[in-house]
């Protein structure tokens, strides 16, 4: 009798951790589903194709930025400069548009990589803590972008406008680009030596050093990638806006990106990177803000609801201690 009961409870105990483990791994997917369901039921015109296009297009910059952010966070770092890098990219794009849109985009992306390299060098070689190194860049690079382009500039370059507004088979080009970048980053993280080294460094830096990993070079590269991706996001956002706006482009996007990464289950303590969940995290936050806007909630409510949802999502995916 007593034995039976204890067996029964043991079985429950075996089942439960599995459920927990599942929620922990896929909680963000579940949250996205729940939010979709809510919208299908309560938001008019939600199922229109154009709506999905809108959401995907709007989330693109955050997705691209958070891919880089995920890599940085994987090394136990953080990159606050991404928003300013977007602004710099917007400025560079419009400055060099005279040479054609492709060269302009190239210059912008290189500019982003250079800023990333500066941050990476401060972190890897000088040993400045990532949050302050990139905070200095956040302030300075936004200023630089504004020095280059003091105010919003509209452009009429057809190539760049097409980049921001055309579609292939009904899917906006910029969404396709974001998807391709996701696949590339996924590949880098899962299948390359570099990807393994990134998480190893985040997991234990001194062990990685003693294991002969090129720690400094990997760190530098990670920040370069983050800068590069942020610049790309800036270019795409600029193309979509049909104007270069270094003043407000990418403001506070670092917080959205970090949230996406963390909601996706990548720990801020490094050593682990979840690429697809990061994208899901970004989608979750986008859907959430769309839902709140569509239901016309005042700003105060919007912010409070966002706070609760972030907490709930991270709570579900948090790492449980064994006891």
């Amino acid at each position: 009798m007593a034995e039976l009961t204890s067996r029964g409870s043991a079985r429950v105990a075996v089942l439960k951790p599995q459920v927990y483990a599942w929620v922990q791994d896929y909680g963000v997917y579940a949250a996205v589903l729940v939010l979709l369901l809510f919208n299908v039921l309560f938001t008019p015109h939600f199922l229109d194709a154009s709506n999905f296009r809108t959401q995907l297009v709007q989330v693109t910059p955050v997705v691209i930025v958070s891919l880089g952010m995920a890599l940085v966070i994987g090394t136990q770092g953080i990159d606050l400069s991404v928003g300013s890098v977007m602004a710099l990219a917007a400025a560079l794009t419009v400055l060099y548009l005279g040479y054609g849109w492709l060269p302009a985009v190239l210059v912008a992306v290189i500019g982003g990589a250079v800023v990333g390299a500066a941050g990476g060098a401060l972190v890897a070689y000088v040993g400045v803590q990532p949050i302050v190194a990139t905070l200095a860049l956040l302030v300075g690079i936004r200023g630089l972008a504004n020095v280059l382009v003091p105010q919003l500039v509209e452009f009429r370059n057809p190539g760049l406008i097409a980049l921001g507004s055309s579609s292939v088979a009904g899917i906006p080009v910029i969404v396709i680009i974001a998807a391709a970048l996701t696949v590339i980053v996924l590949f880098v993280v899962r299948r390359t030596t570099f990807g393994r080294q990134v998480v190893a460094i985040g997991g234990n830096r001194s062990a990685s050093e003693l294991s002969g990993l090129p720690v400094k070079r990997v760190l530098l590269t990670v920040y370069v990638i983050s800068g590069l991706l942020a610049a790309l996001a800036g270019v795409l956002a600029t193309a979509r806006l049909q104007a270069s706006d270094p003043t407000s482009l990418g403001l506070f996007i670092e917080l959205s990106a970090i949230t996406a990464v963390v909601v996706g289950g990548t720990p801020l303590t490094g050593g682990r990177i979840r690429v697809l969940s990061t994208v899901m995290g970004a989608l979750l936050m986008q859907l959430l803000s769309a839902t709140l806007i569509k239901h016309n909630l005042p700003q105060s409510w919007t912010q409070m609801v966002q706070a609760v949802i972030i907490l709930a999502a991270v709570y579900a995916t948090r790492k449980r201690g064994t006891r």
């Binding site: 393994r196 985040g202 234990n204």
Partner: protein, 521 residues
């Protein structure tokens, strides 16, 4: 006062486990284990790596909650929610991995939670430093107690942890492998402490893989095997072979034929001894770093095992680190196969074929967020793929080979390395270094925390590798291991080589004598 009460009723267990089970995902770490700890006894807890010793201790001290079974403390049912509760109740523990705060000063670590107070209940720092110095002097540690703990060697840190645990007013003191990085003199100090504790009626639980120590200090023994209780009773009733056979779960005869250590060094054999004619695989010349190393010369020839001996803090670890470029130097040079090595770069050293198995496996060894598989493959990654893309098949093969060869006990290669038992983590690290096929391997306490069976395997492995032409620098606080394993031994003291023993001179007595000789002079 209360202590004397306790001493009178010695046969009542002070701490008791009844039918404890603890499950982790994929492993049943403890399976119905019962054990009783009585006041005034020193109780050995032994078993292979992963047998469940540390888990049992953590159940006792409230780190883990058992899935089944009960704990009794002083005859009453007890369940400690946190280590703090256990400590408050009088159970003091030294955990297997040094668990102190590296950035805090030695004194603050030692006295955390019971700092001497001055006026207004504010901490009296002067008194704190004084007291810390006094306490540590009792354990043979003489150091500036204001420095951050991390600047001490692992051995010294272990002594601080020990001093901390013992100086708390405790009924039960639990020690999980306290001697794994202590050398003989410190071990003697520790034994003195344990005997003192026992005589004052305190129950001591003692975990170690070093059998000599068990026989030197323990009264009772409990053997765990695969999470189950294999034996419990007075230690004197068991001889070493019987004990080992209980631990391993093998026949007495089988164990007997295996011998005690697996080193089969034949020091007279010409081809293996360093005769100074061949180019050393690795040679360090005049390694110097202020206050730490003072012109150390070391050379290891292919197929040679060179031992590094010395007291705690003699600079063995620092020598090894300096050789692989993990320690900035003020002077000196390292040559690999006659070619000078670029200083300050571990990567360059590894590329040239020199690797270091670090002493501090938690801080410098494992990557806790990664699986066993990724940990093993880490250093060899560049060679396990093409054009920067890893080959999963190649990794699988390498991982499989080493997990089998080193008998790494894990639920699967994909288990997180941080979930393995201490000894198995050590084996994972060994595997990491063997996977890069080095020409010279610097092993800093390679068998630290490894069980008797596995230790013999590792030792046999070192032998085998040396025979294949690998040069090995062996650092061990276990003199027996050093003597049996090394062809030649360099004795360090205060960062300088003070003696070299080879051939017949390689004995424990000689090493001790060399150290002592120098300290007198």
């Amino acid at each position: 006062m209360r202590r004397t009460d306790l001493a009178e009723q010695t046969d009542e267990p002070v701490l008791e486990a009844r039918g404890i089970s603890k499950r982790f995902p994929g492993v049943l770490a403890l399976d119905g284990v019962s054990l009783a700890l009585r006041p005034g006894e020193v109780h050995a807890l032994v078993g292979e790596n992963g047998a469940g010793k540390s888990t049992l201790i953590k159940v006792f001290t409230g780190v883990y909650r058992p899935d089944e079974g009960r704990l009794l403390y002083k005859g009453e049912p007890a369940s400690f929610g946190t280590p703090m509760e256990a400590q408050r109740a009088g159970i003091s523990t030294i955990y297997q991995e040094v668990n102190l705060v590296p950035m805090m000063s030695v004194a603050r670590n030692l006295l955390l939670g019971r700092e001497p107070r001055g006026r207004f209940g504010v901490i009296d720092t002067a008194a704190m430093y004084e007291e810390a110095e006094r306490v540590l002097a009792g354990y043979g540690v003489e150091t500036d107690v204001r420095r951050p703990l991390r600047t001490l060697g692992v051995g010294a840190q272990q002594m601080v942890a020990l001093a901390r645990a013992v100086s708390v007013d405790a009924r039960v003191v639990i020690m999980d492998e306290p001697t794994s990085s202590l050398e003989p003199r410190e071990v003697e100090t520790l034994f003195g402490v344990i005997r003192r504790l026992r005589d004052s009626g305190i129950a001591v639980m003692y975990v170690s893989h070093r059998l000599d120590e068990l026989y030197a200090v323990c009264d009772q023994v409990t053997v765990l095997r695969d999470g189950r209780l294999a034996h419990t009773g007075p230690l004197a009733e068991l001889d070493r072979l019987k004990l080992i056979s209980l631990m391993l779960g093998r026949d007495l005869d089988e164990v007997r034929s295996g011998g005690m250590t697996r080193f089969s060094r034949d020091r007279s054999s010409e081809n293996r001894q360093g005769d100074g004619t061949r180019t050393p695989v690795v040679e360090a010349r005049g390694l110097t770093r202020k206050h730490v190393l003072d012109g150390v010369n070391v050379s290891v020839e292919p197929g040679e095992v060179v031992g590094l001996g010395g007291l705690l803090g003699a600079g063995r670890t620092e020598t090894a680190k300096a050789i692989v470029g993990a320690l900035p130097l003020d002077g000196g040079q390292v040559l690999v196969a006659g070619m000078p090595l670029r200083g300050g770069s571990t990567a360059a050293a590894i590329k040239a074929g020199v690797s270091l198995l670090p002493e501090d496996r938690k801080a410098e060894g494992i990557i806790p967020t990664l699986s066993v598989r990724e940990n093993i493959a880490l250093a060899a990654l560049p060679s396990l793929g093409r054009a920067g893309v890893v080959s999963e098949a190649k990794i699988d093969r390498v991982v499989e080979i080493f997990m089998r060869r080193l008998r790494i006990k894990a639920a699967s290669p994909h288990q997180l390395v941080s979930e393995l038992s201490g000894g198995n983590q050590q084996k994972v690290l060994l595997a990491r270094w063997l996977a890069v096929r080095p020409k010279a391997l610097l092993l800093d306490e390679p068998t630290r925390g490894i069980d008797v069976g596995a230790k013999a395997e590792v030792q046999a492995l070192i032998d085998e590798l040396a025979q294949e032409g690998l040069g090995v620098l062996l650092i061990s606080s276990d003199l027996e291991e050093l003597v049996e394993g090394a062809d030649r031994i360099l004795v360090l003291r205060e960062g300088a080589v003070v003696g070299e023993l080879s051939g017949d001179e390689v004995t424990e007595e000689k090493i001790m004598a060399t150290i002592a000789e120098q300290s007198d002079g």
